[in-house]
């Protein structure tokens, strides 16, 4: 019965951040579909993102970004939630003539989310859910030196990000629900005056929730669109290699929820994209995560 409370809430609780290589670094840490649950959670997530860089239409380098995150979610009250993540990142760029490896602590982020609407049916299943949140990404990670030419490979941006998040989930019928999520991220400049462009994303996901064995299998299938404004130096938008672009991606998420554990696998595959006038392309983005569920106290 307790699982029916999260009915229809597909969930990548800490989905992927936007890419560093294309300048996303957005802190687009969506709160995902667990928003309407009342669990506290701690977990780890492994993520790999791939990119290809081009020169005159010829592949010049391959980039892989491995990220390990420590994640947490705390249900402060039935209406207020706190999400936090601390990433560690290894970025690898492979070229014909060399290889670069940059690793270190990424920028930790924190999201405070407020639940405005949470309608349930007589069985306790969610019918409508609406929440809004605000997030910050702190410049505590390892950032690139001012003269670095591979800035995007570094785990930190050296700048604050402020995100606004809006999440809506609606039950369609017995097994299906749909979630929409919109995120706007405003990025500040680093101490050298470099500023990544703001990002905007919207995602829509169809969710199926089924009982399976001792737990529940929650499958999400969705589309996501992201837009990146150009980066700027000392307040002046850059004209080339400015990380400007867009992408439309397909997403699949498989989640298995048991009494104490949540296991998740998330795949994102770009369908249509254009960054830096075609000189950079994102590849697949795969993440695996496991979270331990801490039942909230009755006082909550």
């Amino acid at each position: 019965m307790k699982y029916t409370l999260i009915f229809g809430l597909a969930l990548w609780a800490f989905p992927s951040k936007s890419c560093d290589i294309c300048g996303g670094v957005s802190g687009n840490a969506s709160i995902g579909l667990f928003a309407s649950t009342q669990f506290h959670m701690v977990g780890i997530k492994s993520n790999i993102r791939t990119y290809r860089s081009y020169l005159s239409g010829i592949i010049h380098s391959h980039e892989r970004v491995y990220q390990q995150e420590l994640t947490g979610r705390w249900q402060l009250t039935p209406r207020w939630q706190l999400f936090a993540t601390i990433p560690f990142q290894i970025g690898v760029q492979k070229r014909d003539l060399g290889r670069e490896v940059i690793s270190g602590l990424g920028d930790p982020s924190l999201i405070v989310n407020h639940v405005f609407l949470h309608h349930k049916d007589s069985s306790g299943s969610t019918k409508h859910f609406l929440s809004a949140g605000i997030g910050i990404k702190t410049p505590l990670g390892r950032m690139a030196p001012a003269t670095s030419l591979i800035r995007n490979l570094y785990p930190g941006t050296g700048a604050w990000n402020i995100s606004g998040l809006l999440t809506h989930t609606m039950r369609l019928n017995g097994h299906f629900s749909i979630q929409q999520e919109g995120i706007v991220t405003y990025k500040l400049a680093d101490k050298n005056g470099f500023r990544y462009g703001n990002t905007y994303s919207i995602a829509s996901t169809l969710i199926r929730n089924n009982k399976l064995g001792m737990g529940r299998m929650i499958v999400g299938l969705g589309l996501k669109a992201e837009f990146f404004e150009p980066s700027a130096e000392l307040g002046v938008p850059m004209s080339v290699n400015n990380n400007q672009g867009y992408d439309f991606s397909g997403q699949i998420s498989l989640n298995y929820l048991t009494n104490r554990w949540l296991w998740s696998c998330h795949l994102m595959q770009p369908i249509l994209q254009n960054f830096n006038n075609g000189s950079m392309k994102q590849g697949s983005n795969v993440s695996l995560s496991v979270s331990y569920l801490i039942k909230k106290s009755k006082t909550n």
């Binding site: 020169l55 005159s56 014909d96 003539l97 060399g98 030419l149």
Partner: protein, 128 residues
């Protein structure tokens, strides 16, 4: 006997064909986009070595070098033996000189396995 001669003829034909295929003519178009010819950079600046190599057929790797022609010092060298029809390179090197120097960026492409090469180079000036 006739049959033996026939097999010998076929084997020779295939062998000659293979040898011919291995040594077939190949060429490469090498474009060095950066630095541009006679470009001027300042001491301790980062030199971009950027360009493309496009082969008529599969190439057998290439070498990129940066040499100070004024002192004959080899500042940078990088090479690959990856076999591809086209390559793009974009390497960076901070340059440090004591006097005004002429630097040469040179690309040497292996056109085939028998060692035939194609080269292209540009020079630029570094001012201390």
């Amino acid at each position: 006997m006739k049959k033996t001669n026939y097999y010998l003829f076929v084997a020779l034909t295939i062998g000659l064909g293979l040898i011919s295929a291995c040594n077939k003519q190949n060429d490469a178009t090498i474009t060095i986009e950066e630095p541009v010819i006679n470009d001027t950079i300042f001491n301790l600046d980062t030199l971009h070595m950027e360009g493309t190599i496009i082969g008529g057929s599969k190439l057998h790797g290439y070498t990129l070098t940066l040499t100070n022609l004024s002192t004959n010092e080899l500042i940078y060298t990088g090479s690959t033996s990856n076999k591809k029809k086209e390559y793009a390179f974009h390497e960076h090197q901070e340059v440090s000189v004591l006097d005004t120097s002429i630097l040469e960026v040179k690309v040497t492409v292996n056109l085939n396995r028998s060692g035939k090469m194609a080269t292209k180079s540009v020079t630029c000036v570094v001012i201390p």
